[in-house]
């Protein structure tokens, strides 16, 4: 489809579009504060209220040592899943996607720019949360950086795909916030973001069907806690959800507003 395009020129187009995507995100102050601020506020509140509590089931580590990896995972999911899904529904319903589709900007350039921009927002949060964990609560950064980077990459891919996928089943702007938030927060709760879930409990088995607990577990493991650093199972379940997200997104994605 882009046979008439010049490869290098197209990459420059991607870079240019990423810049505008970033501008669009950060200029929308409320959205930016809501996305980035939420994870920071949650971590600080939970960290302060956790005090010196420890988790017996996880080798007696401090609770805050559990929360920092958890909220790193949360930051990625919030940016890639919730924020992206809401933004896509808004763009579709206001006609922004249609306008871009009718411009000569190649579709793949737009999608690549959205993906890269979303990843940047996710990574900015990761850095902020790691710094707060280190300076505020004395939580050391990941001990296994290779695993950490890999799981972040898979997580960003999968949750971005799922964010696009869920945006295609949300009918209008009014529903976008509530639908994504309910799905997200219920699964977060069941997946042990707010409190560690007892291994092998019924809840743990239920949560294992969904990608969130695997993502949290894998990020947690890369911090060197627990008895393993690497779990194929976590990566595989996360990746399968990601691929499913891609399939749904490709089949259902629409450029035109749904409303009449």
């Amino acid at each position: 489809m882009t046979g008439d395009g010049d490869g290098l020129l197209d990459l420059r187009l991607v870079a240019r579009q990423v810049r505008y995507e970033q501008l669009a995100f950060w200029l929308n102050r409320l959205g930016a504060i809501f996305t980035v601020g939420f994870s920071v506020v949650f971590l600080v509140f939970l960290g302060v209220s956790a005090g010196t509590s420890r988790v017996k089931s996880l080798g007696n580590i401090k609770l805050i040592q559990y929360y920092v990896p958890g909220f790193v995972a949360y930051g990625v999911m919030a940016a890639c899943f919730t924020t992206l899904a809401i933004q896509l529904v808004n763009r579709r319903e206001t006609g922004l996607l249609k306008r871009l589709r009718l411009s000569p900007l190649p579709t793949w350039v737009l999608l690549a720019a959205i993906f890269v921009s979303t990843a940047v927002i996710a990574l900015v949060q990761v850095v902020i949360l790691l710094v707060i964990g280190r300076l505020g609560f004395g939580v050391h950064p990941p001990t296994h950086w290779g695993v950490f980077v890999l799981i972040l990459a898979v997580g960003i891919f999968s949750f971005t795909a799922l964010g696009v996928a869920i945006s295609t089943v949300i009918p209008n702007q009014d529903a976008a916030g509530p639908v994504t938030s309910i799905v997200f927060f219920v699964l977060l709760f069941l997946s042990g973001l707010w409190f560690p879930i007892t291994p092998n409990s019924g809840l743990a088995h239920f949560a294992a069907w969904f990608p969130i607990s695997h993502f949290i577990n894998a990020v947690f493991a890369s911090f060197g806690h627990g008895n393993r650093v690497w779990s194929w199972n976590d990566f595989l379940v996360l990746a399968i959800w990601g691929v499913a997200g891609v399939v749904v997104a490709l089949r259902r994605f629409e450029w035109a507003p749904r409303r009449k």
Binding site: M1, D4, A24, G95, R99, L102, P104, K260
Partner: protein, 332 residues
């Protein structure tokens, strides 16, 4: 008959470089639509629409909501696939994915609503769009053209409805389109805003841009378009110039004036009726009737207050054309 060889040669001419096809411009219509078909499930949204738009012309698609205007436009823009019929826009088939990117550098689109992030400034929004096109108009020139020089660095959300609409037109023309699609350009604008938009459309047409607009405002079509096609229930029900459409130019005229003092409608020397203090005379031969009326008035020394000769308005014609075809329930 045009052969496949000449057609491909022409398409090549049209899509490569500006110098070659400039001389060719007048020979090829901007838009050719023949027997266009599009269904949504059982609903035939567009059912055999045929029309052609010449280069440099302002052409209007007129019709009630749900008539198939927007669907037709979206097919011409290459945004929607058609089920059948022939479509050629600027010499290419807009549904052909291979030419789509090049095609989109040559068209401009103004949607029914301004679709941009409202916290961007006017200049940012236009600069971003300008970057999509190979030879855009300078952003400052666009800003001047749409009369937003004083608002260039204001955020979009601080603009009035009319100013946002003008920005929307700016986004449509920043790529120097050969063909501009205007989907209901003045819906929701106040009268002053409409005038500004109309002036802009006229200016673009003067510069040689072909304009294809949809509207359900008759006065807008009359003010802007050189030709009009009326669509109802997915079919063309009339076409022609705004002045002649639906036999408007040859139909009866209505002469009205206030009932003069001391005179009843029975005294009027031609067949007439009275309605709300007005004498109404319907005739196909208004010259002769006016001659008799004015002669009679001078003889009797009566005034013909507010004397007017009215042809059916475009709105009358339009309502006649689409009136007995209620808008389709679905999609309206």
């Amino acid at each position: 008959m045009e052969t496949a060889v000449t057609r491909s040669a022409r398409n090549r001419l049209l899509t490569t470089g500006t110098t070659t096809w400039l001389g060719y411009r007048r020979l090829v219509p901007s838009v050719v639509v023949e027997g266009l078909q599009k269904s949504y499930g059982p609903l035939r949204a567009v059912d055999g629409v045929t029309f052609a738009v010449e280069r440099g012309e302002v052409f209007a698609l007129l019709g009630p909501n749900g008539a198939g205007k927007t669907t037709s436009i979206e097919i011409l823009e290459g945004f929607r696939h058609r089920d059948g019929g022939r479509v050629e826009v600027l010499g290419v088939d807009p549904g052909d994915r291979r030419v789509q990117r090049a095609f989109r550098t040559r068209i401009g689109v103004v949607l029914q609503e301004l679709a941009v992030e409202e916290y961007f400034t006017v200049r940012q929004v236009l600069t971003r769009s300008a970057g999509f096109y190979p030879s855009p108009r300078p952003v400052d020139e666009v800003i001047d053209l749409i009369g937003l020089a004083e608002k260039a660095d204001a955020k979009v959300k601080t603009l009035s409805g009319g100013q946002q609409r003008r920005l929307d037109v700016g986004l449509g023309i920043v790529g120097r389109p050969e063909l501009l699609f205007l989907d209901e350009p003045t819906t929701g604008l106040d009268p002053a805003g409409r005038r500004v938009s109309w002036d802009l459309v006229r200016q673009l047409a003067d510069e040689g841009t072909t304009v294809l607009l949809t509207s359900h405002y008759m006065d807008e079509v009359e003010a802007l378009a050189s030709r009009v096609v009326v669509i109802a229930q997915g079919r063309v029900v009339a076409s022609g110039t705004p002045a002649s459409i639906g036999g408007r130019d040859v139909s009866e005229a209505t002469i009205t004036f206030a009932v003069p003092d001391g005179v009843t409608v029975a005294d009027v020397p031609v067949p007439a009726t009275e309605r709300a203090g007005q004498v109404e005379v319907r005739t196909a031969d208004e010259v002769a009737v006016l001659h008799r009326l004015t002669g009679w008035a001078l003889d009797r020394g009566v005034a013909l207050g507010g004397l007017r000769v009215n042809r059916r308005t475009l709105e009358d014609v339009y309502l006649d054309l689409v009136g007995d075809r209620p808008a389709v329930e679905e999609g309206s």
